[in-house]
Symmetry: C2
Subunit: 302 residues, 2 copies
């Protein structure tokens, strides 16, 4: 177990996506997959998830080939979690056509003895009851973070609020921040969220960038400007991967490190949306990341 | 005539606005008014516009008291241009209830001998035929800029394209950039626009900030983060005022000056939306502007 190892718990999925630029069927997806593929540039990642018997072996190999520890991915009878959706020219909003939970319906993450010592924990968007059960199993982590979605805000708000009390970092998109806090203005929403537990609130606004709030500072960044956005699926989790990955350098959430982490997260997300699935991230090098980081600075400095 | 004097041609209006936080009737508005109230912090401004007999003398005094030269504002028989609209909680989109052109319908800007020597010209959103007639009257300006709106894109596209060939800076919002260029992606849209004349294209995205494109660089900025947005009316023209005002320091559009100008424009716009009409901008000091500039840097640096 490396001292900076990240435990990532969430979904591994088969995504069928249509965008104005093409379509894929049963492509490798899932919140924890995108997160891991991105975070591995900065730190060792152990993935905990469940797949069905139909999950292609070559997909598992692709994840393994990224250097991600897949020993925590259970294969169980039944079909893998599937998401089917599309995007119009306004690529900021996914339209869901079908969600099949399949094996995810009965998923109970059991964290192995080795993984219980992880210093960093990322709880991707799953039932907050399960996110909390993971936290109960991990011993004294240095930093914990979670994401969520509107479904849990509407159906498991109490459990989600319990989870918020236990995490250091809460990531969500702007509409989720508004819905959970009941505040339309994002400054008000973030204050509400910071008052409910986390030390850091990161609001993802898709093509409009990110706002990061702590009790001591606020950090605003536009999204990296791209001419060709191909498929935004997984951008939020890819952002989280770069962000949490970089934060393994400072579990104390020092301000300069947090700011850098937001930029690295944004850079990773910008690469992710250039292809379907995680095809681009898979081929990415640290050099590519550094190059776009420099470009990001040029685009925003004054 | 100061060597950095800006000639601002556009509308002076009476606005009736409702937002979730209050309402005003026949408040002082208009694109050229907002522009002038903002640009005057950086450079002397001469306003050219038309008002009706009903235009309150106290409003004219308010504009004059800002130090704006109002010798080019004609008072003619009839009623002043009026706009009536409202905003919901999504303050980024104005909903128009009524537009009464009134005296604006027959407005033909005649530029006085003194004003013809202006080095800087801002053509606020009016009929592109009129914007071009102003340019014909001005002698050899150092820098010209214009704004527009969807109505002219739809009804006077040819004239607007003629105007684009003649201006150095084109400002518009994101939906206008898309509509005029036929390109959904803003990088594509800006390339199209730069190919049609201007040396600089500034795309205003409201609460999502600004993207500024030249042939040599791109500059992205988020909007200054505010907890209380009261009334966004005039934000775009207030931005333009700060932006063009600051550019009087470098008509050559040097990159560092352009970047600073975008920030000053954003700072002015952020103050404008904190009150109805230009109530906040009217009371603003250079110290306030500098303070928020520093704050902006803190919010965005990495």
């Amino acid at each position: 177990m490396s001292k900076n190892s990240i435990l990532a718990v969430g979904s591994v999925a088969l995504d069928s996506v249509r965008t104005p630029f093409g379509k894929v069927r049963d492509a490798l997806g899932g919140s924890a997959t995108f997160f891991s593929a991105s975070a591995r540039f900065f730190s060792p990642v152990s993935l905990v998830a469940v797949v069905g018997e139909d999950f292609p072996l070559k997909y598992m190999r692709r994840i393994e080939n990224l250097g991600v520890d897949v020993s925590g991915v259970q294969k169980v009878p039944g079909k893998t979690f599937r998401w089917k959706g599309f995007y119009d020219f306004d690529l900021n909003t996914a339209k869901t056509l079908k969600t099949e939970l399949n094996v995810f319906q009965t998923f109970k993450p059991v964290i192995s003895r080795a993984h219980r010592n992880s210093r960093f924990v990322f709880l991707a968007n799953i039932d907050p009851d399960l996110q909390r059960s993971v936290l109960r199993q991990v011993k004294n982590p240095a930093l914990t973070a979670c994401d969520t979605m509107n479904y849990w805000i509407e159906n498991k708000k109490k459990s989600l609020l319990g989870l918020l009390k236990q995490v250091d970092v809460f990531l969500c998109n702007d509409s989720e921040a508004r819905e959970l806090s009941g505040e339309f203005n994002l400054v008000g929403a973030s204050r509400w969220l910071l008052g409910h537990g986390p030390r850091l609130v990161v609001i993802k606004k898709g093509e409009h960038g990110v706002i990061c709030f702590s009790r001591d500072f606020v950090f605003l960044v536009p999204a990296y400007l791209l001419e060709n956005v191909f498929d935004p699926t997984g951008a939020g989790d890819t952002f989280a991967g770069g962000f949490i990955g970089y934060l393994t350098r400072s579990a104390r959430l020092s301000e300069p490190v947090v700011r850098q982490a937001v930029i690295y997260g944004s850079v990773l997300a910008s690469y992710n949306v250039e292809s379907f699935s995680f095809d681009r991230i898979e081929k990415l090098t640290l050099q590519d990341i550094r190059k776009r980081y420099t470009q990001f600075r040029k685009m925003t400095r004054f």
